[in-house]
Symmetry: C2
Subunit: 406 residues, 2 copies
Amino acid sequence: KIRGERLWDSLMETARIGGTPDGGIRRLTLSEEDARVRAWFKEAVEAAGMTLSHDLFGNMFAIRPGKNNDLPPIAMGSHLDTQPTGGKFDGVLGVLAGLEVIRTLNDAGLETEAPLMVVNWTNEEGSRFSPAMLGSGGFAGVYSADQVNGRRDSEGISFGDALEAIGWRGDLPPKGQPIGAMFELHIEQGPILEAEGKDIGIVTGVQGLRWYEAVFEGRAAHTGSTPMSMRQNALLPAADLIRAVDAIGLAHAPDAVATVGHVTVSPNSNNVIPGEVRLTIDMRHPRDAVLAAMDAELQSAFARILAASGVSGALTPVSDVAAVAFDPDCIDAVRQATARMGLSAREIVSGAGHDAVHIARLAPTTMIFVPSAGGLSHNPAESTTFDECAAGAQVLLEAVLGYDRS
Amino acid sequence: KIRGERLWDSLMETARIGGTPDGGIRRLTLSEEDARVRAWFKEAVEAAGMTLSHDLFGNMFAIRPGKNNDLPPIAMGSHLDTQPTGGKFDGVLGVLAGLEVIRTLNDAGLETEAPLMVVNWTNEEGSRFSPAMLGSGGFAGVYSADQVNGRRDSEGISFGDALEAIGWRGDLPPKGQPIGAMFELHIEQGPILEAEGKDIGIVTGVQGLRWYEAVFEGRAAHTGSTPMSMRQNALLPAADLIRAVDAIGLAHAPDAVATVGHVTVSPNSNNVIPGEVRLTIDMRHPRDAVLAAMDAELQSAFARILAASGVSGALTPVSDVAAVAFDPDCIDAVRQATARMGLSAREIVSGAGHDAVHIARLAPTTMIFVPSAGGLSHNPAESTTFDECAAGAQVLLEAVLGYDRS
Ligand SMILES: NC(=O)NCCC(=O)O
Ligand SMILES: NC(=O)NCCC(=O)O
């Protein structure tokens, strides 16, 4: 049985690394805070007797040997990076619950058949370097090493340089670490489990996700002395696009979502007509065919808005991650664990993207969800209770042991 | 006769302080670059035999004695701060042309009746600390010292602290420096002089200007797992307001302008629904009655958008500068100077705000405009020719001498 207090203490201890006064965490990937939480993780897994390696993208693999070390390890894990104004549970829970499983097995002197592994995937959030799930995507070969290293943050720093700078670039190539299966515990980040009073979400898959960058280029000029008729205001088509993206989401609701989350206005001065505006677009749907239709609607809305605007612009796809169905055996291991423990559970499709999406291409994979209060996530007020975290970690332990036995 | 090359050399020399690769200047008020250009100006005016003092707000006053030093000095000047992506002429021309007038009189050994003064007003642009024309407004008593010192930039640094930090807080109180009259040479920043092939704009007044800050507060949440129906997206009403402001400008065109120039989205992450959006609004019209009507339209558009949005928000006035008519005698001095020189000129109302607007409350004041290529300003490509700058400085000299004689 896992020890809930020990898991909670680890959560609260690491929450101080990049902790913000409002109870959240700001721990952007490959930042100084990320370096500190990586050092914490290294110390913790080594103290638990594990062997740590890391790959080209800074993904961290901590291994506990099993009886048969010819078998590829069963992985647990998620990510330790956060949103700029993130909460205490998104990602972190999956890594620290993996650590808690190892500590529990150590206490019990229990040896598994296959080795076990706890993984910290780099840049899951995608806030500093877009797209999300970049480290696991690089590992799985979805993105080339050059693609990953070349991604730049809003200050122009590349992923490769930032990784070098914090000293976590390793030698292991993509797919260089064998994986037998992966179980990722994560908070739901949505309202369903709480609304239905369920303890656990048995995650059967993840909806499809497409990201885009849009840019409008007009002409910066004086707000006071430039007549309305002489303007090339890049912010006006941007406003139209924000509305159009929302309308696409609404048109395919309740299953679709569509959002503009990031906007950069240049030069962003009270008395300058915006010369350039950049926006990011995030659209998702559980069915790839609907997502393709939404894509077409976005393309035509963008073309219409651009044509009417008198400015120039472009819409560029950034990532296109198809919907994923998880492995039936892994799902079954989770289902049986919840049943054995007498927990209430329901099957659920994840609204958020996760590292498990990319790893599912390489190995049998699934996820376990615990509730998020109010469905809130990517917010300092993100909240999952002590009992919910402990229950999730216990399901993780039992699912992994169950899968290992079979 | 002023020396055009000397004026141009000064313009190009100071343009290197904060100069950007695209030929513009980034010299935000009270920044390190501002400190450097102030040191340059101090050295230059002292080399020209002037005495420099500065006031509570860092406004700089360089005085050349006259025959009768009981008379208040006739001022020339403008500002040395720039937009974040500003050009080489906005503001700087008016200060350096004042310096060129002094140098010319020194060369000619000419003494004026009244003392002459060259002024550098602090924070004219209003980009770092809103509102614009803050230094001259503080000097004229339009804003209290506490109001000026308390204004904060987007990083939370106050005007007072930034002024302290660069070492330019003086003792002179508001209105502490007598001013007999002020002539401000400035680029037009609009298209009229160029379109009509005129050399000089005889500025009869400045249109009214109102600035506002709008904020919408929704709830930051995950873009993937938060259904469309559960969102409080602060960016949607912001998009509506951007469109509404533009519509108000269009409704009162051609004389009205209305613009959203500055937008801040929080947390501004691709996969976070915007929790808070801040915008600035800039509306102008030559007639105060129309500007008041535009204000009422903005209030009602804001109320309507807010009510429909399901988020909370507020609209706050930041500055309200009434339209100004300049002094007939000063205007006449400019008109006669252009006539004497045989330059083509037209009367013009300024679309941009200027320090002259506030100083006109204290002393007879007017402005002289020279053309802006393509009407472009607040842009690195802002351009006024060598000959145009020289002609403007010569008109400044002759207008000041003419006014001094009368
Ligand atoms: N779980 C999570 O928030 N991942 C970030 C990628 C996404 O936007 O879904
Ligand atoms: N001249 C000038 O650009 N002043 C800044 C204040 C304004 O926005 O009009």
